[in-house]
Symmetry: C2
Subunit: 339 residues, 2 copies
DNA sequence: TTGAAAGCGTTACCAT
DNA sequence: ATGGTAACGCTTTCAA
């Protein structure tokens, strides 16, 4: 079933039928109703490819994910995608995902432009030293950053969680509980969000005149073993920490494993605060959550991000648009006063 | 830059240029070289939309994921996607992902067909009582199942891991170590792979004349708290298990947390075997992995799945195609003889 | 070996 | 309010 056939059935021109279906105002209410009914009855839906060619818009949004980023962001990315995908579907956009080898991103973006595969792209996992945005600007491909690009905050569209503030508050909470030796297990150092979290941690400690101890600060991909190994080493060292601030639930689970294995009790002997992205398969909710955490739904971020990017595509606002989400600080069972 | 402009530059017809670029045999080697060089120089790539319209193929493969499935399969799905996406890219296909509300899958598939959004789809997370495949058959939309549909094994294309065998072997290993009270933490009961794993477990216990204890078998979404809570309850019950067989690393992490919290040592007081999907953010590798596990790379499955689906689209084999992957049984530190 | 021209199924411009 | 028709950029059939 295509437009021509539908039009013949209705004894109308393709033009009129197309207009009726696309909500143009100059169609009589009666005709429109008739067209809509027939379309429904015959199960007609415009061929996406033809429409794309005619309009010049692909009605797709691209997500290009370099493999190294995928390794790290895997679960977070997926949750973000779930939120964004929801919005895309509602607004009639398709979501196209490309996972490419590191270094192939540039050609991936070029191909998106050359072949008109997507109207815009989402930029994931900005680094401290980011360059993708300049390429995208030069390609004139609209994009929105999930996170922020240092130095380009006022020149790009972005949505971010207030990483700095969240970790500053979390660190303050631990300090308020009397902790002075607070270990900090953070993500890979070249990621922008990692730098912001570190800044928050440092600010808090500095506020209270607590000296930084490099032996208590580590960076790594946020895996479970990273948490377990680091915590075990630190807890068995000469001057062990009394609290851990952790960048990811998965790593925090590793930390709590090490704490138990050391014969210590979490929340009593050792405190833990983690950031919680509210991943569906890692629930930390319940009446009183297991982990005290800073929580910010990355799925919600995905929803907003999609809305913002679509706004960019449709309204083409002159000024960059951005949104900063605040994390909730939630008390769970993993924190207590310093012994 | 489009075909017309490129052809003008070369003083050739669009036809010849198109043929040269698409590898048709009737073009002279010299002309082809000239065309290819010019195309590269001018950065020409055929407009995807136009090509799609002309050929009638969308060169896209769809993944429709109902929300409930997404909640559960999130990390596994993402890893699968990474593998499949790799292959799609190599073969010139785009990956389109739609995450839809439960019950909207039908219309999602219908729309894919009506609007010609994808040439084929991947079917994820088959249930014990699965119906999607009948819809897809009636829509004449090619598909490949990741997993198997009971009763339709010979009538559909699929790739699966030998869940039954993996869990049978794992249970046998525990039995060989002298364990008789083996708890089994499995996924949600309506999933096909869950049923197969259960069958493997039951077969093994039956082989050795060990009676099933319903108190030791649980089904749930495979979260960390599910593992922790279940293990804690079982370990503090009248007749605790001496070993755990677990369907997912994440749940196994919960189990090991509970074991530690009960003051027991994993691998010595209590044994654990888990299935390991080889997720990048949950490494269980190292010299001696933490968990003894049955391991099967879901990313590899994604790669093979994509290859098979593309084969279906291109070669249209008469017979259904399928592939059964065997899991490796890997000894880690989490198993030991029954006390 | 090359080219002309007819689709592919829409949308959008220009008439009426 | 409705219709005719020219794009959109490619592939493919038919001719030469």
């Amino acid at each position: 079933m295509n437009l021509k056939e539908l039009a013949e059935r209705l004894k109308l021109s393709q033009t009129t039928v197309s207009r009726a279906l696309n909500g143009y105002p100059e169609v009589s209410a009666k005709t429109r109703r008739r067209v809509e009914e027939m379309a429904r009855a015959l199960g007609y839906a415009p061929n996406q490819q033809a429409r794309r060619l005619a309009t010049g818009r692909s009605m797709s949004i691209g997500h290009v994910l370099p493999r190294s980023l995928h390794e790290m962001l895997n679960p977070v990315f997926m949750e973000f995608i779930a939120g964004a995908g929801e919005t895309y579907a509602q607004r009639g956009y398709d979501m196209v995902i490309a996972i490419v080898d590191d270094g192939q991103e540039e050609s991936a973006y070029q191909e998106i432009v050359a072949r008109k595969k997507a109207d815009g792209v989402m930029l994931h996992g900005p680094r401290v030293a980011e360059t993708r945005h300049t390429l995208l600007k030069s390609l004139d491909l609209p994009f929105l950053v999930h996170g922020r690009i240092p130095g380009a905050e006022d020149a790009t569209d972005w949505i971010d969680m207030n990483n700095r503030r969240a970790f500053e508050r979390a660190a303050h909470l631990l300090l308020d509980l009397g902790h002075r030796r607070i270990a900090f297990l953070n993500g890979l150092e070249d990621m922008d969000f990692v730098a912001r979290r570190k800044a928050g941690y440092m600010t808090a400690l500095n506020d209270r005149g607590v000296e930084l101890d490099p032996a208590l600060m580590r960076n790594s991909a946020m895996t479970e073993p990273f948490g377990a190994l680091s915590a075990r080493e630190m807890l068995t060292a000469a001057r062990p920490p009394t609290a851990f601030l952790v960048s990811s639930m998965i790593t925090a689970i590793g930390v709590s494993r090490a704490i138990s294995e050391c014969g210590l009790r979490i929340g009593q002997d050792v405190s833990v605060i983690t950031h919680d992205d509210a991943l569906s398969f890692l629930p930390n909710s319940g009446e009183v959550p297991i982990f005290t955490c800073t929580r910010s739904s990355v799925r919600t971020a995905g929803i907003r991000a999609a809305e913002m990017l679509i706004k960019r595509l449709i309204d083409q606002p002159v000024e960059p648009i951005s949104e900063l989400l605040e994390a909730d600080l939630i008390l769970g069972q993993s924190t207590g006063p310093a012994g």
